[in-house]
């Protein structure tokens, strides 16, 4: 089996737009979702800014029953369920009613941790000798696959239902896992995506290793500065992104709207050898991931029109650009357009890859390239490699064909996907 795989549904819960339409407008216009975070200030974090999606009670009630909402503390499950149910609906699909699940539809929905606030509450209760008062949902909210479990129940998914985890590459990897399952004929339709909890207990560890900026507590929107000379770390973010993937045949048969096609991609690890460590990438591994993705997608280096990069607004941005330049053998004005959404929404950790993939597909389908924000003072070492015009700071309205999306994560893991514009075949 070698099915063509297309994207027919999108959903997103992002700090700068908690639904698809708001998000699309936000990325086109360079709207920031980074705000001062009073809780982080109270807890004396170095970095007191963050990106959190805004979901009100009325919206919550559309996705969760009053019973489900009792004691629901897992923000990751909330974001993931909303993004995924939106994507399902956007694809023109309905939850299964009746006793028989949809055996041909499944989900790969990743996360780094699940329900960290619920976990904290449970730990305090256990230590206070109140284990019997934990209630019935601690397991479902704190198991990593909680988000997938909620989704399969809500939609009636009967194919593979699982949660992947590979640090900040999680969301990109989840799409590739779903892609492969459909390509090889083991599923017709997969809900792919990832989610990440909000709050101090998920972000604290990053604050401790000083990868979050502490220089912009007074001007949050300027805080996260990918490719900038004054980059000083990322703003921690959260949310979820979701994509419905299905065989081209199924999409055509249903008459579904097709956003884009996935040509292929690659995941690998630098093995923490060479320049690679727990926290830094082995540059050879990154470059290999990119070239293997192109090979698996069957396209030439010169065909890449746009890169949606990982670029976390740390000192590693220069190295990432170097890796793209080396892998693609393109530089200066010959380099593809490149952007990073992290200037607007920060680094959404395990949700980054999926939110950014949604942004990538929106660009391909909508004929635009969203602007980089906070990148005006381009790092001189980057400018030596890539012409300024290839790093847009205003939205470019133009049609293009191929977008490469990559994510890199702790543990020296890499993932790269090649998306193609879909035009009636």
């Amino acid at each position: 089996m070698n099915n063509r795989v297309v994207i027919t549904g999108l959903g997103v819960v992002s700090p700068n737009g908690a639904d698809l339409e708001t998000f699309r407008n936000a990325i086109r216009n360079g709207v920031s979702g980074i705000k001062h975070d009073p809780e982080l200030e109270k807890l004396q974090f170095s970095c007191q800014i963050s990106g959190k999606p805004e979901i009100d009670a009325e919206r919550l009630a559309q996705y969760f029953s009053p019973l489900e909402l009792r004691g629901l503390e897992s923000t990751g499950i909330i974001y993931g369920v909303i993004a995924a149910m939106d994507a399902w609906k956007d694809a023109g699909l309905l939850p299964i009613n009746g006793d028989e699940p949809d055996w041909d539809s499944g989900s790969v929905f990743g996360t780094g941790t699940s329900g960290i606030d619920k976990f904290r509450e449970a730990i305090y209760k256990v230590d206070a000798l109140q284990v019997r008062k934990l209630g019935s949902t601690v397991v479902a909210q704190t198991m990593n696959s909680g988000v997938s479990a909620y989704l399969s129940g809500k939609l009636g998914l009967g194919n593979q239902v699982c949660t992947n985890s590979s640090a900040c590459a999680t969301g990109t990897e989840s799409i590739l896992m779903a892609f492969e399952r459909i390509k090889t004929g083991r599923a017709t339709r997969m809900l792919a995506g990832s989610t990440s909890d909000s709050g101090p207990y998920i972000w604290g560890g990053f604050d401790a290793i000083k990868v979050c900026t502490y220089k912009h507590n007074e001007d949050p929107e300027a805080g996260c500065r990918p490719m900038s000379q004054s980059a000083s770390g990322f703003a921690p973010g959260s949310g979820a992104g979701a994509l419905v993937l299905e065989t081209l045949a199924s999409a055509l048969e249903r008459g579904a709207h097709i956003y884009a096609e996935i040509l292929g991609g690659h995941v690998n690890s630098g093995g923490q050898r060479g320049t690679g460590t727990m926290t830094a990438p082995n540059r050879t591994g990154v470059q290999r991931c990119i070239t293997m993705a192109l090979k698996e997608a069957g396209i030439e280096k010169q065909e890449v029109d746009v890169i949606n990069a990982h670029l976390t607004a740390t000192s590693k941005d220069v190295m990432e650009i170097e890796n793209w330049v080396t892998a693609l053998e393109r530089r200066g004005t010959d380099f593809p357009y490149i952007n990073s959404i992290k200037g607007m929404i920060g680094h959404c950790i395990s949700a980054a890859g999926s939110i950014e993939s949604v942004a990538s597909v929106l660009q391909l389908a909508g004929d635009f390239i969203f602007p980089n924000i906070n990148s005006e003072d381009l790092h001189p070492d980057i400018e030596k490699m890539v012409a300024r015009e290839r790093i847009p700071t205003i939205c470019l309205n133009q049609q293009f064909n191929i977008l490469a999306k990559a994510s890199f994560g702790f543990g020296d893991v890499n993932a790269c996907i090649i998306f193609k514009r879909y035009e009636n075949g």
């Binding site: 009053p66 009792r70 008062k133 209630g135 019935s136 949902t137």
Partner: protein, 81 residues
């Protein structure tokens, strides 16, 4: 007490008719179709409502309205109320 129990049970069941006609004979699982994990939550809510603690053995028996009332009354009596 049956009125108080009804209030506690309401969020856990979608069987409106069985809930409306709640009687001593009502079975939590058969009639109200409360899932077994949620039965634990029902017990916790009952404990909170009546200020009692229900031991594991009693909890295992608390599957009908009648059993629930008996257990609550016993526990209230034990605590001298």
């Amino acid at each position: 007490m049956i009125v108080e129990l009804k209030g506690i049970l309401t969020p856990y069941t979608e069987q409106a008719e069985a809930l409306e006609n709640l009687s001593e004979e009502t079975d939590f699982i058969k009639d109200l179709q409360i899932n077994s994990a949620n039965l634990v939550d029902v017990v916790l809510d009952v404990e909170e409502k009546f200020g009692i603690e229900i031991d594991n053995d009693s909890m295992a028996k608390m599957l009908t309205v009648k059993a629930a009332i008996e257990i609550v009354e016993t526990k209230l009596a034990e605590s001298g109320r």
